[in-house]
Symmetry: C2
Subunit: 349 residues, 2 copies
DNA sequence: CTGAAAGCGCTAACAC
DNA sequence: GTGTTAGCGCTTTCAG
């Protein structure tokens, strides 16, 4: 069934059918009703490819999730509860605006090509990238493609300094620095002076921010940074687990540990438990992200909540805004983080 | 940049460019190389809409997640860890085969229209639906559209009895009945005779299967079904929470409770805890799905694991298979469930 | 208000 | 081997 068929049945031309479909005003109510009825009867839906080819939008936004986890493992992305919520939130907001969401995950360079192709092949009206590494070249490539592009969790400085094409670019971040500061002030207020960190991926904006805030807080309070207490967790459970094991093999752990995300905090908890270390009696532990499990485990994890839904909403809105004629200016927004005190920390004894 | 531009630059015709792009054999190596080089230089990618319109596939498969949760709440789908893993697994498998995944979630009838449109508007080569209600009419509508369709967790009997168009249809299920049986045999073996259930959505195949197995097990062992112990949780945390509160207001709870999914088991645990009921000392609790949190909470939840990744893989493969010339036969497959004993159950005292 | 016709970018016979 | 041509189904000037 194509528009021509509908036209014939309704006794009008394809142009008129098109006018009805696109809700043009210059169609008499009678004609419109008749056409609409035929369309209804035959379950006609215009072919998207044809519409796009003729100049309409795709009503699809791309969502590309970049992960460093290894390919062979199954369920890698949603193992990370942070990403899963983005996928959910973006889909929800896009759907609410009548758009579909085209998803592709990125583990390898080849996958990255698929992202670029999604733009170049005109499959989407714009795209959102979450979890991007600090890779100016790649981002520049995409930014130069002319389609609306939103980067979630990306260092604005890198964009400014490299004079990236900012015509169709927007960045959505969260206040990771402030959130981490809140955790650190809390821990220090509890009397902790030996505070370790399980850091995230340092090629990620949030990973760096969380680390930098940790370091800044320590220095501000005149606390010593002990190399042995700086664990590189890469945001990954397994890596964090091994790092904590390594930490324990080195001797006495710090009295408190800040983990750059909850997944790692959970892994750390297990590693500690296996060594007979109790949380929070022996060491205080704080995470970041407030994943669902954080409030379910024992002890409940003290952490920082990010307004993922609002961030996703903002990202989707940016795509639409930039899709407009005049909405081509660079924009950037940073969402507040909420510190949540629960049971995994306690005053130093 | 379009194929014509490439053609000019390479000194050939559009046909030849097309032949190169599509890897046709009748192109001399020299010509091919030259064309490929120009394409490379200019970052040319063929317009997907044009290709599709000219008869090629979309290289996109649709994934539609049906949920009954209310619209106003944020993060509704991935609150359900079961769905999140499907999204992950399907995306992973589709991507690995070079396909994008087009996602739309379904909360309302209007959303369902978008699913139908995705097919009718030829946006996808086929679609996967997970979480479908027992709604023969809707499924029939989609099945009749002629595109490959895979139903995950759907009652085959409904398809057979209603003589649905099975030409491009496949069903992927899990052995929920057997899995539940394993839980029940275990509980009964532990000496429990008063076993309650927190049932799921009964308009869902897995919801019914899990309930039916519960009932069958009780009857087989001559145990009495106590109406007060049959809680309708609808697979939702909040509902389950309220149901358990209601149960407690009725007096003494059963000695064991089988929850049709982990999310509800977790909610039940909280509700119990608030009433001073300990798990497993006072009541044994078992779930279903083995979500990440199941093994993190205290006590660790005894549950049943479904091979989500394999199911998703099978679903994606079915789409591709049905996309072939001859692969139009109805297929159905059911994956085994694995019973996992942990710490939330104990012999009746 | 409405129809005719051109064109969107690509593929696939069909000739040469 | 390779170019020419006719669509694929829709939107959109441009006439009338």
């Amino acid at each position: 069934m194509k528009s021509e068929d509908i036209a014939k049945l309704a006794g009008v031309s394809r142009s008129t059918v098109s006018r009805v479909i696109n809700n043009y005003s210059n169609v008499p109510e009678n004609t419109r009703r008749k056409v609409l009825q035929i369309i209804e009867e035959h379950q006609y839906e215009p072919n998207t490819s044809a519409r796009v080819l003729a100049g309409k939008g795709t009503d699809t936004i791309g969502l590309f999730v970049v992960s460093t986890a290894e390919r062979p493992e199954a369920n890698r992305i949603y193992d990370n509860s942070y990403f899963a919520r983005f996928v959910d939130a973006v889909t929800d907001n896009a759907n609410a605006r009548g758009s579909y969401v085209l998803i592709h995950t990125v583990y390898t360079q080849a996958d990255f090509l698929k992202v670029k192709q999604a733009f170049l092949q005109k499959r989407i009206d714009g795209g959102i990238i979450v979890g991007t590494s600090e890779d100016t070249e790649l981002v520049q490539e995409l930014a130069g493609l002319g389609s609306p592009l939103v980067l979630i969790d990306y260092d604005i400085a890198g964009i400014i300094n490299n004079r990236l094409d900012k015509n169709h670019l927007a960045v959505v971040n969260s206040k990771d620095y402030e959130g981490t500061m809140a955790v650190m002030e809390y821990l220090i207020g509890l009397g902790h002076r030996e505070i370790g960190i399980l850091s995230g991926r340092m090629n990620t904006f949030s990973g760096r921010e969380r680390y930098n805030a940790y370091e800044a807080a320590m220095k501000q309070h005149g606390l010593r940074l002990d190399g042995n207490h700086i664990l590189r967790g890469e945001f990954l459970k397994e890596t964090a687990y091994r790092e904590v094991q390594r930490l324990m093999s080195l001797g006495k752990p710090p009295t408190a540990l800040f983990s750059a995300n909850d997944d790692m905090a959970i892994a750390a908890m297990q590693a500690f438990a296996e060594q007979g270390i109790r949380i929070p009696e022996d060491v205080s532990l704080a995470g970041f992200d407030d994943v669902p499990a954080a409030s379910l485990m024992t002890p409940k994890l003290t952490t920082v909540r990010l307004p993922i839904y609002e961030m996703a909403k903002s990202a989707v809105e940016s795509i639409f805004r930039m899709g407009q004629k005049d909405g081509t200016s660079f924009s950037t927004i940073s969402f507040p983080a909420e510190f949540i005190t629960r049971d995994s920390c306690r005053p130093v004894s």
